[in-house]
Symmetry: C2
Subunit: 111 residues, 2 copies
Amino acid sequence: MSLDPEIAARLKRNADGLVPAVAQQHDTGEVLMMAWMNDEALHLTLTTGRATYWSRSRDELWVKGDTSGNVQHVKSVALDCDGDTILVKVDQVGAACHTGDHTCFDAGLIG
Amino acid sequence: MSLDPEIAARLKRNADGLVPAVAQQHDTGEVLMMAWMNDEALHLTLTTGRATYWSRSRDELWVKGDTSGNVQHVKSVALDCDGDTILVKVDQVGAACHTGDHTCFDAGLIG
């Protein structure tokens, strides 16, 4: 099975076939991280209940938490007005960030 | 004046010199939109108190709200763990989306 053609038609992908995806904790509203999805990752995110991305560094599908245990259970998925960003509301298990921080923005305040 | 060299050194830009920026309503936590910043846009966002992006369609700096009146007053700015995403917490005046929706994700639920 692959991504619903109606959804696929709305996506605006970059030159690498990817769309940025923002992961947000569904109840607190915290922005946890930003990663990238291709069509297959979005399809899996929509159908498995597990947030799934495309790892640009490893060049492979990345089911968030498969290695770390820090799974993201999907609560909802939305496209933005022009189909070039995905917002995934999740229930994050443990830390979202590979540094161990709860979100990838915790240590990065610049202003 | 230009972007603080210490911040500039932490940024990971794409091939076009841009970094994705997520705008979030500071008090409700709503994710409003995603847009792109170059170094100058980030510098202006940090120093003017007005969220400023790089418009890829118009190929120019875009001080959010200059045309629409739907200004974003900057509350905080953070980089993520690897410097390739910016999170801007703002106080959004009016609608964030050019469609008139409060956020760019309001009409886009797909799952």
